[in-house]
């Protein structure tokens, strides 16, 4: 399975309009360190960081969950996560974005997805973080299988919107 490179090198401080270069998008097979992600997006010209920590719940529909397995169409998933990051910068007055998703087997309470958004002011950071997780759950090709005492079940999930039939001239 091909995974993306680690956190980008921290460059010298750049103007707000160019900081997308310091965003961090990654699919990982090993545990996510939330504090490292938060440190990555934090900068002196920010005043707020909002994070989303999605982790493995011990039950699903009142059945005890033993563990989860995540798989991804890795190249497409990373591309879709990058698109979410780009949309966040277009829509919200934010500074840096980090979106990390873990793959493979996850035990109860382990973090499956961690999102951190920094901004000069909190409203944009809250709104952007909410947008990121909601969009990720609808559009990023990652699949979760929940294992119970009597076996594994693919989570219901959401069908990403497909483009309309007979696309116009481009693509």
């Amino acid at each position: 399975m091909i995974l993306d490179y680690g956190p980008p090198q921290k460059a010298a401080p750049t103007p707000m309009s160019q900081t997308a270069e310091t965003d961090w998008f990654e699919l990982v097979q090993t545990p996510i360190d939330p504090s490292a992600v938060v440190r990555h997006v934090r900068a002196d010209n920010d005043g707020a960081i909002v994070t989303f920590d999605g982790f493995v719940r011990n039950e699903s529909h009142s059945r005890r969950t033993l563990y989860l397995e995540y798989e991804a169409y890795t190249s497409m998933a990373l591309e879709k996560i990058r698109e979410i990051g780009a949309q966040m910068h277009q829509k919200f007055a934010i500074h840096r974005v980090a979106i990390l998703h873990r793959l493979g087997r996850l035990e109860i309470s382990e973090t499956s997805v961690f999102i951190a958004v920094s901004a000069p002011h909190r409203p944009a950071a809250f709104d952007a973080c909410r947008f990121a997780i909601d969009t990720l759950k609808r559009t990023v090709p990652i699949w979760k299988k929940e294992y119970f005492e009597d076996g594994g079940v693919w989570a219901d999930g959401e069908l990403p919107p497909a483009p309309p039939s007979r696309p116009k001239a481009a693509s």
Binding site: G54, Y70, E71, A72, Y73, S75, M76, A77, E79, H101, S112, V113, I133, L136, K137, R138, T139, V140, P141, I142, W143, K144, K145, W154, A155, D156, G157, E158, L159, P160, P161, A162, P163, P164, S165, R166, P167, S171
Partner: protein, 88 residues
């Protein structure tokens, strides 16, 4: 399928319940020129009839982008039939 005059070759990827149902992870397939994503899916429902039940809950992708079923395929395309996503 109509008689094959010229062919195109695509790479098909399988994930989640589609991977489990077909027992396939990835394979190269030859198709008649002009074939669409729907035509390719038809080849697989012929091989794996149970796959037809999933059609309404699958979205196709071509070269890492979601694509309409009537999208024509090109030589070397990466194609997948993706189940509902459940990341997060």
């Amino acid at each position: 399928m109509p008689p094959v005059s010229s062919k195109l070759r695509v790479n098909v990827l399988f994930f989640g319940r589609v991977r489990e149902l077909t027992g396939l992870k990835e394979e190269a397939v030859e198709l008649p020129a002009g074939a669409t994503l729907a035509d390719l899916f038809g080849l697989y429902t012929a091989r794996f009839p149970r796959l037809a039940d999933f059609r309404a809950s699958l979205v196709a992708s071509r070269n890492q982008e979601f694509a309409a079923w009537d999208t024509p395929l090109s030589f070397g395309d990466d194609v997948a039939f993706l189940p509902p996503v459940s990341g997060g």
